[in-house]
């Protein structure tokens, strides 16, 4: 027997309709590629999204066809989030930091029909426009007056504002199955080809509800949210959807992600919440500290993408009164999996113990379940000292990759439930707080025991002479693998191998201390700013560790 409640599919367009109707006057502020500050309201967002939906119809877009974007965080990108998915097409956010070859591969694989781009990416578009197989229209996200003369060489080029002006703002958002595809994001693909994750309207809406909860990102109509995390990176962690659901003010930084530009925007727009990867915050903190500044409105910032250095947690908290919410997720997870919201007993701890908890990636957001398993696949209990491979499940977690790429990624348990193996190695404490100790492929297997490289890197990073540190497995004749610390020194700083190794004493078990240090000029970074340890391992594959 079924319940007798109204049947309404969970559709992305309903977020926009809600925002227009119940938060129509709330502002959306963007620093544009053009350089100036643009501001308008949810009411205008909704009207322009409807114009763009009409424009897409005019371009012959059919249900479920892919529309790509190569764009920064800004209002036009936001309009496309709603116009594309809302009208039934699939929003494919391309990462502009990828190589042109990868972009061509991904656009072809996705069969993108239209590609919208910010003017910053004109050279990139010029490089790929003649090479993609399916793109019929290239749309510059600007007014015609801003279009440089050299853009004329791009076939089928259109201007965003022309499309807006030429189309009507009357449009009825279609109603369809909530499981329909809404958006597509490719993993950065450090091994093999990038793989597409195809989100649905349902998964997006459930993720949005969960993300806005008090113990997740805690977003309200009274917040002003500045997503530093790019809209081309797992939908800016869902914040463009959270904005419409809650009526929060949205502040978009465009391409200006340096400390000074961000700080100006935080202050002028009285931002209360932000979100981004640790490297961005390093730039911001450096600017603020160098100039003796304070944050007048910032209450908290969400840090994810990679682990937040404990020192950064403390600086934000102790010096600036900004609460850092450590979070963890993946492209395959929409992306939110855990947030490090504290429980009552943590609030009574002293600062040091509390920061230790805050350094963990956090507890599962409702909707996501997680477990760690040993090498035989058996679940390890919460609170065990041992780390294990981290597996997750939930309604906004990938079931399989786009077009079945890579086969079935899931592991099925005894109860018949599919779990997605994250590729992370982690512990989960008795309170359910997950702490990533390594990527499975980066873990160092020393005499059959696992050494987590991330903790070692965090310790090294806390040394005043260290700018960047990677810890990788080097071949060892007796133990198979032993940790080798690869270090980039800060400009002008000096430190010896022996001093660095001594720095680990008392901070980790003796057998975890790296066997050696190699100083390098640079550590290779991938398109999302993560260290490419596979390339380092390749570089150091014949490295001879000292055998004491």
């Amino acid at each position: 027997m079924l319940g007798q409640m109204m049947q309404q599919p969970l559709l992305i367009s309903s977020l926009l309709v809600h925002a227009e109707r119940h938060h129509g006057e709330r502002e959306i502020v963007s620093r544009r590629v053009e350089g100036d500050i643009h501001r308008y309201t949810y009411r205008e967002l909704a009207a322009r999204a409807r114009r763009m939906a009409n424009a897409l119809t005019g371009l012959g877009l059919a249900m479920s066809e892919r529309v790509a974007t190569l764009a920064w965080n800004g209002y036009r990108h936001l309009e496309l989030y709603y116009a594309v998915s809302g009208s039934g097409a699939v929003l494919h956010t391309l990462n502009p930091r990828l190589h042109p070859e990868q972009i061509v591969y991904i656009a072809d694989h996705a069969e993108d029909q239209v590609l919208f781009f910010d003017l910053s990416f004109l050279p990139l578009i010029a490089a790929v426009a003649g090479r993609t197989k399916t793109v019929r229209h290239w749309v510059a996200m600007c007014a015609r007056a801003h279009l440089p003369a050299d853009a004329a060489g791009i076939p089928g080029l259109l201007c965003y504002e022309d499309l807006i002006e030429a189309n009507h703002d009357r449009y009825d958002w279609p109603v369809f199955d909530e499981n329909s595809a809404s958006s597509l994001c490719y993993t950065s693909g450090t091994t093999g080809n990038p793989k597409g994750v195809l989100y649905s309207h349902r998964s997006t809406l459930l993720h949005t509800y969960a993300a806005a909860l008090p113990d997740a990102l805690n977003c309200s109509a009274n917040d002003a949210i500045l997503p530093v995390v790019p809209m081309f990176h797992v939908n800016a962690w869902g914040l463009p959807y959270v904005g419409c659901m809650t009526g929060a003010k949205l502040v978009f930084p465009g391409p200006a992600l340096d400390g000074k530009s961000l700080y100006e925007l935080f202050e002028s727009e009285q931002v209360t919440v932000s979100a981004g990867v640790p490297t961005v915050w390093q730039g911001l903190l450096a600017h603020v500290q160098a100039n003796g500044l304070k944050f007048s409105s910032m209450k908290r910032t969400v840090i994810g993408g990679s682990a937040c250095p404990p020192a950064m947690l403390r600086t934000f908290g102790d010096e600036f009164g900004v609460h850092v919410l450590h979070a963890w997720g993946m492209t395959e997870m929409s992306p939110l999996g855990t947030v490090c919201s504290l429980k009552p007993r943590h609030l009574q701890m002293d600062a040091q113990a509390r920061y230790a908890v805050m350094s963990k990636q956090g507890r599962a957001v409702y909707g996501v379940d997680m477990k760690i398993v040993d090498e035989s696949g058996a679940e390890l209990p919460f609170g065990s000292e041992t780390s294990g491979e981290l597996l997750v499940r939930g309604p906004w977690i990938v079931d399989q990759y786009f077009k079945g790429e890579g086969g079935n990624p899931l592991r099925v348990d005894a109860a018949g439930h599919g779990w997605f193996p994250t590729g992370d190695v982690a512990t989960i404490d008795a309170d359910g707080y997950m702490h990533i100790t390594d990527r499975s492929k980066d873990v160092i297997k020393s005499g059959g025991e696992w050494i987590g490289s991330i903790d070692l890197e965090n310790i090294a990073m806390a040394h005043p002479a260290v700018a960047m540190a990677a810890c990788i497995a080097a071949h060892h004749p007796k133990w198979d693998e032993r940790p080798l610390l690869v270090v980039v020194k800060k400009p002008g700083a000096e430190v010896t191998k022996a001093e660095l190794l001594a720095f680990f004493e008392g901070k980790v078990a003796k057998w975890w201390v790296p066997d050696d240090v190699a100083f390098v000029d640079a550590i290779p970074l991938g398109a999302t700013g993560k260290m490419q340890k596979n390339r380092l391992r390749e570089q150091f594959k014949d490295y001879a560790l000292p055998t004491a």
Copy 2:
């Protein structure tokens, strides 16, 4: 093309699984019918709910069969919330304040198979046990030792704790269609027979997400929630589900709803959030004020069920630092429709203007949409001065009543969307804040214009001599209807008709001022504590208004 995310039905059992796994140590505290305080954890809740699910299987319960409860707010009732719905049966919460005849009617209509009851209701059970048609088992929610000797007359009587002890705590929650019926609640039925609202697992889960949001009830693992609103009244506004979703501590008051008992529990359990109807808070405030007490942990309380008197908002806020969240909903809405969370511009208002906003029922929770329509059914714009009939839609709003009772309740708009007519008359301001001015059937139609009775009652209630006031339409030879104020004076207080009518001057438009006052000893109240104005209208149907 469908998205490629994991398919997981939204099931009530998943809330319990999450709470056990991620908040296993968090407490649930209950004042028992037995008189003592009982405390245990979500871990124990989950284990006992599984035992009870096995017990239900043992009693021969099939999927979708109804299991009734007649019980106060407490841990055993909570176990049934999860055991019954989680195992696929339907939890039917009966209102013990109804007359035995109505309970028999409703139990028969619902075809209840098993009925669980708190010992307080033994006399009621004794009165109905021989008369219901379908109930096979009556289960006393206590241990055998607490069962009075006179209970033996009830056929098929079982003891709750016997069932718990006799059954195993291994149980795999079944997985089924999320649209399956989960729970059933009857409207109080002031006109005609009570009608059943049949919730689904999906509607319940979506409602839970929305209810926990920062701008709705704003619930976190750091809250201790005391639902005064009964679990037999629209699932205690969803708080038993919010508890498991967020890991908040739950505190149940049992039958002791007097000011002293509640206050003790608020303080001893350091409650941060509560929820209930205005009358309960009157008792609590009276106790606290009479004894010069303060709240040491209470941050906010949700007030709904009927309009919160503005004076109560101010007393809570100014005297006790407790923020009142005015909320509105209905049994037909699971129940949450609006919450009066403020927007940024309200926070800058002076206290008086802010309290005026807080007196409104609030803005739509995401998921619910609402509109007001005029007598022709045309939508009135937000911000119009005129009131209109309030209509709602959303995935946790009734589509039709159980067994099709009363036909199709919805009105279909031009776009083909069904809207549920709430029976309320309201305004919606430019910020989207809804304010109920009357029930459709209570509105006073004076010369073709509508006069809202609720505002008039609120003014009268603010007079120091008035204990209770109802404003009803009385027949008028010229204007068809004119307002008559029916008043119960406070014990020992004196006030004349002329004084009371003068009290309205300057507070409403002249033509809204009641034509007369009738003093009575009591105003009839319904089972949920609301004034029964239909009975008053009957009583005063031949009342002769003064014709000046």
